[in-house]
Amino acid sequence: MFNPRLVLAAFATVVLAAACRPEPPPPAAPEPTGPTAEEIEAQRIADSIENARRLEAEALAAAQRAEREMQQRAAAARATLGEMVYFDYDESTLTSETTRTLQAKLAVLRSCPSVRLRMEGHADERGTSEYNIALGSERAQSVSEFFTGFGLDDARFSTVSYGEERPVAQGSNEAAWARNRRVEFVITTGADDLGRCQS
């Protein structure tokens, strides 16, 4: 019931008929309906402005991120450098805990050669004020010698002793005394460079 020859003939007839039809006239040019050239130019400008803004914002964010990181690094370096160290009663030798604290400072100081420190030695209230000035000075010197012993330039370090004159803890008990037997650290030069230091 299905004759392939018949189907082929029908198809050929259709094709021939189509091929013999006269060519239709070309359609008229379509009326322009999209944006004008001016609008395109304006869009291009707007796009470029937006793009520039976006890039700017990204750059700003990156800079802010970098700044934040710098600040965080600086804060960390400042905290590391500023951490007080404590001493045993009537002693200026460094305890193992003090040595660990000073090792951390050493890393910061090595990565930031512009930073200079003043070590301020303190003592508890026991003993005379003059003796305690000497004791506080010994403590500050011990810390200075620790740094210079690791090869840092001694011109970067200065010392002063306040003896028993500037306690951080009031009271005549061991808890207060222990907090007062200390060396404090003051950054005298290079504080602006701390963001570029290892912390």
């Binding site: 003993g127 003059e130 003796y131 002063v160």
Partner: protein, 487 residues
């Protein structure tokens, strides 16, 4: 010889000193009462907290059993002057005579003794050995005062001495100092040794009214505790004040710049100068050479540290006296300028000791009672103006035994120094000799509080100079006035 009275046989004077209140101290029962009165009074040692004695040191005073004569000041006669002025001068002199520790001052005089002249028989009945009379004149003196004083010897019934002293007007800043110098002359007439009322004491303490509790400034106060004044306004830590030999300048160390430096304040014009502009480290504890041309002081910090001198007349010639790794601290010149007494930690850091150093060369001599194994903590040396004694503070035991120091006096004698302990209670530091080589001012702590005290090394009598202050670093001035004339 002076007539012995019932009250003359004091053997242990620091315990049985009669009060200045004029009690009939010749009665034994009254004397017992006096002990209780003394215990309650602010100007005498209060009930001992915990007596302690440093091993190897004698307890005691330099002399014992001295006779202390009774004296009275008769109300002054007023010629053209107001009575208030007379009462003020009487009050100053009476208290000075008491504080001289040379007299029992009798007041509450019976009316019978108040008439014209001096009736020796009546005064003898009243039981005094000496009577002071005087007249004040202000007319035609341009505001100044002529003060005529007589000293009567009641025992011999005669006038012992008399003089007229010029005094500045009552509202003049030198008025009280000039009156004190008249008291000193009176003490000299009786004892041969001039009194020390015309002097002042320096010390440092937390400044009144300043918010920061850790800052100390220099204060000065008169011999009788009056006229307390602040001298520095550094708003910093100002330490170790010391008088120049002429009493016109004060040197001290101040933290007001980055590093502590030694400054000098001229008391006449109020000008301050950096006294030692050279040298590294921090500068502390200045002491004037007796000739006033140089200072000895301590440098603490990077080596070299230790004792230094500096020529302050020419502003030159920083000289290192040596020190080394240990700390040499608190130098003080002998009155002939040939020795220093100082503190050193050379034996071991934790046990500072007092040493003498001959400046012409030679070995240092250990003065404090160091005992091997006990160490001790000795500090704050001050050489007596007479040269034969050194006062210092300290105690056996380590620095750990906080706030337990006593005043010690070393008598410098060939073939061995003798050590005397002057205080037995509380905490006692920073001694400084009076120009009479007899009294010592020091800072102390008692059960009733902290303050500045004066002790008489002869009788042991102690009084409060400034109460309720946390003072340090006292220094007693030279004489600032003589015979009514202020230097």
């Amino acid at each position: 010889m002076r007539r012995p009275t019932a009250s003359s046989a004091w053997t242990n004077l620091h315990l049985e000193w009669p009060t200045p209140g004029g009690f009939p101290s010749r009665f034994a029962t009254a004397r017992t009462c006096l002990l209780f009165l003394l215990a309650a009074g602010a100007s005498s040692p209060v009930a001992a907290q915990e007596n302690e004695l440093i091993p190897g040191v004698e307890l005691g005073f330099i002399f014992e059993g001295v006779y202390v004569p009774p004296i009275a000041v008769k109300p002054l006669t007023v010629a053209g002057a107001d009575v208030g002025l007379a009462r003020e001068i009487e009050g100053i002199i009476t208290r000075d005579l008491d504080y001289s520790d040379r007299f029992q001052v009798r007041d509450s005089l019976p009316p019978a003794l108040g008439g014209e002249g001096v009736q020796y028989a009546l005064w003898e009945q009243f039981g005094v050995d000496w009577v002071v009379t005087g007249t004040i004149e202000t007319d035609g003196l341009g505001g100044g005062i002529a003060f005529s004083v007589e000293l009567h010897d009641i025992v011999f019934g005669s006038l012992k001495a008399a003089a007229t002293f010029p005094l500045p007007a009552r509202d003049h800043p030198d008025f009280r100092l000039a009156v004190h110098s008249v008291s000193d002359a009176l003490v000299g007439w009786v004892t041969g040794d001039r009194g020390v009322a015309a002097t002042r004491m320096l010390f440092r303490m937390r400044a009144f009214g300043e918010e920061n509790p850790n800052l100390t400034e220099i204060y000065v106060v008169d011999f009788d505790g009056e006229n307390l004044r602040r001298l520095t306004w550094d708003r910093s830590t100002v330490t170790s004040p010391t008088w120049s030999p002429d009493g016109k300048r004060v040197a001290y160390s101040s933290f007001k710049a980055d590093m502590p430096r030694i400054y000098e304040l001229n008391l006449e014009d109020g000008q301050e100068r950096l006294l030692v502009p050279e040298g590294h480290g921090q500068h502390d504890s200045p002491s004037y050479h007796p000739d006033g041309n140089s200072v000895a002081f301590t440098i603490v910090g990077p080596e070299p540290e230790g004792l230094f001198t500096y020529n302050i007349r020419d502003g030159c010639c920083l000289k290192y006296l040596g020190g080394g790794r240990f700390n040499d601290l608190q130098p003080n010149f002998s009155p002939d300028g040939e020795w220093l007494v100082f503190v050193s930690t050379r034996l071991r850091f934790s046990t500072p000791q007092v040493y003498l150093r001959p400046l012409a060369g030679g070995d240092d001599e250990l003065l404090s009672p160091f005992r091997y194994g006990e160490g001790g903590f000795f500090t704050d040396p001050d050489w007596s103006p007479c040269g034969d004694r050194v006062a210092f503070a300290g105690g056996i035991g380590s620095r750990r035994q906080a706030n337990r120091y006593h005043i010690l006096v070393a008598k410098l004698e060939a073939g061995g120094n003798r050590l005397l302990q002057l205080t037995q209670e509380g905490n006692n530091e920073d001694p400084s000799w009076a120009p009479n080589c007899r009294h010592i001012v020091f800072t102390g702590e008692r059960s009733y509080g902290k303050g500045v005290f004066i002790v008489d090394t002869v009788t042991g009598r102690t009084r409060v100079l400034v109460a309720n202050v946390e003072a340090e670093d006292t220094d007693w001035s030279p004489w600032l006035a003589e015979n009514g004339v202020v230097r």
